[in-house]
Amino acid sequence: MTAETGLVALWLAAALALAQLVLGALALKPGADAARAAPTVRAVATVQGALALVAMAALIAAFLASDMSVALVAANSHSMKPWLYKFAGAWGNHEGSMLLWVTILGLAGAAVARLEHRLRADTLVATLAAQATIALGFYAFLLFASNPFARLDPAPADGAGLNPLLQDPGLAFHPPTLYAGYVGLSVAFSFAVGALVTRDVGTGFARAMRPWVLGAWIFLTLGITAGSYWAYYELGWGGWWFWDPVENASLMPWLAATALLHSVSVLATRDGLRAWTVMLAVVAFSMSMIGTFLVRSGILTSVHAFAVDPRRGAFILALLVIYIGGALLLFGLRIGTVRQGKLFEAVSREGALVANNLLLTVILGIVLIGTFYPIVAAAMGVQLSVGPPFFDSTAGPVALLLVAVLAAGPVMRWRRDEAGEVAQRLFPAIAATLFAGVGAFVLGGPIAPLPLLGIALGVGLAVASVAPLAKRDLRRAPLQLWGMVVAHLGVAVALIGMAASTAYTQERLVAVGTGDPARVAGFTVRLEGVRPLVGDNWTALEGRLAVTLDDAPVAVLRPQVRYFTTPVTTTNESAILTRWDGQLYAVLGTLGEDGRWQLRLWWKPMVTLIWFGGFLIALGGALALVGHQWRLWRQRRRADDLAEATAWGAA
């Protein structure tokens, strides 16, 4: 019954999305009263979101109950699986992850319907109609091409199990967080389309859109950071970013959203960059959809490709044509009629933000080209793959240039500034950059130019990012300012982590017998023994590694090789020792015929800073979001107080 409830909820949600679209379109006809239709459209959007949630809950219930008569459960779950993976396994597959996608889409629409009160009524109705249009297409995709609730008759005795690489607590958090970011950007897209339809591109629109962009961006940042750490410890390769197409698929919306976040601020505070902001809002969610297409169509090989089906790819492609093509067409037709915003000097906060936007867009272009190039090359009869050497050497320098702009931007004044004064304000940061660069070059030993620049600019940016707080009363500094400072500091911290771990990582691949020592970066790692271990749905061989530093015992690491039975797979569970200055990363390999074990050891200095920085970036976003909302709430309360006082005065 549960599965049928979910299916019915999905159909009803699709019907309501259609209703929402039609009601919205009718309310926007010339002569119609959008303000009167708004409450109805809001209600429909809310119920639609709730129904999507019911469908998702039904699927989760089917997974938790191990209802093997549901084809999806049988194909991806197993009754012996720990409950957390039954729960999270609901989205560890194609149909379930698409259902999660539309659920978040529906919930985002419902949230706009409930919470958004600043937008003009007609723009709100147009926004919700746009959101419903997107939802409708993806409901259709689920119902016609990827039904998660399809039944099996007869039902198998038990399921095929979940891909063991996904059997990790990370699965419970990473996809929902990332999707909340991915799909949260749909709100920005709908806002842009809505504003284009009603020709309402201005500061009010930007102020209303900003918290939604910020919210989605926070989730996206957290999702990417968490995903990077997950891949780092679960895949056992010791890398934190692989330039895998699916990683790129999450990076591209993030780059666009980061640019959007900054341009929307210019539009909200200075009424500049109107067309550009609308463009970015369209591009950001378009990148999310292209990312979804990349993953779901199996057009590119990737470790994430757990569903490969060209027919589904064609379906999503058709949706992309309708939504992205439609929005860009609307943009081309309408944006010319949007009045030009305010102008500004090249050397100014706006100028720096434009530079930031252009550089982010360049990186986005590089990643996009790099991701799609294998397909282009294949079209020309050449087989190739594009990997880290391409991305590092192209996106790397642009990113470093971006970091330099990022350091300068926040200390610049709005509208116009003097280059000399800016340099003066940046003096401590420039000094720190030079100091760190020379220090790393002299003390750190041989180093490639890019990591060296990364370390130097990272330290410089760390100093520059707190500069806006200088000479301010810290208790009175607005929360938004703190948010910006913390986020920029996070970029600096992550950059230092990336550069330092790239430059100074030490790797050892050794074959050791019991009692043999292996040395890496001053640590001595001794294999004390290997013992078998039994888990819920796996067996493992666990190595016991005694780690000593300068003859003092530091820790015992226990890397495992896990053997899963459903489906039959082997995974390497790395063991990681985290110290303040880096991580010791150990992976147990195979047993050689001579009775020695393969052991792979890495010392990765400063590597934890990467994810700590990512977390700081998200935290900065959260502070800014709270800051903006807090100010809004205070303004509203003050207005209420004033109205009340006036009322009393009148009485």
Partner: protein, 191 residues
Amino acid sequence: MSAGETATGAGPRRARWLLWLPLCAFGLVLAVVLWGLWRPADRTVYSAMVGKPLPEFTLPAIAPGKPGVSSADFRRGTPRLLNVFASWCVPCVAEAPQLLTLRAAGVPIDAVAIKDTPADVAAFLQRHGDPYASVGSDPHSRLQLALGSSGVPETFVVDGQGVIRLQHVGDIRADDVPALLRALAEARSPR
């Protein structure tokens, strides 16, 4: 000065064509993707070295009583097979009988052992048969990478002038043998 607005193409009259640029870019991506979607999904990684001369190399011997391999061995006028294998590789065991068949048909075969030890190679050859004229050791996969080989086993048909004529990815099955023999015959005649 209006750096921001010209860059965005939002000027009411200036550069209106810029507004259509995103749509065109999207059209381009679409065309690429459409092509990719309709392409038969072949995920085999073929080497870019096919049709080119072998890279220069000299590998030390690893099998008892057999010489190592060098690129000069392939320029003596007779086509040869260069088999990339490893004692730890299971498909290499599966293709061993086919290599013996080829050897029996008079095909000279040289081998590169990837990340291997003399003891392991000797044991492998003893257990699964020894079709090789020479076996070179490539402990860090250097030659393998230079050949553009993405895994073991792989087999290259090299003509008498040291030019790679064909790459066979994966283990050689019984029904692959005729094709390899044909390629070797073709390699005898100059291109």
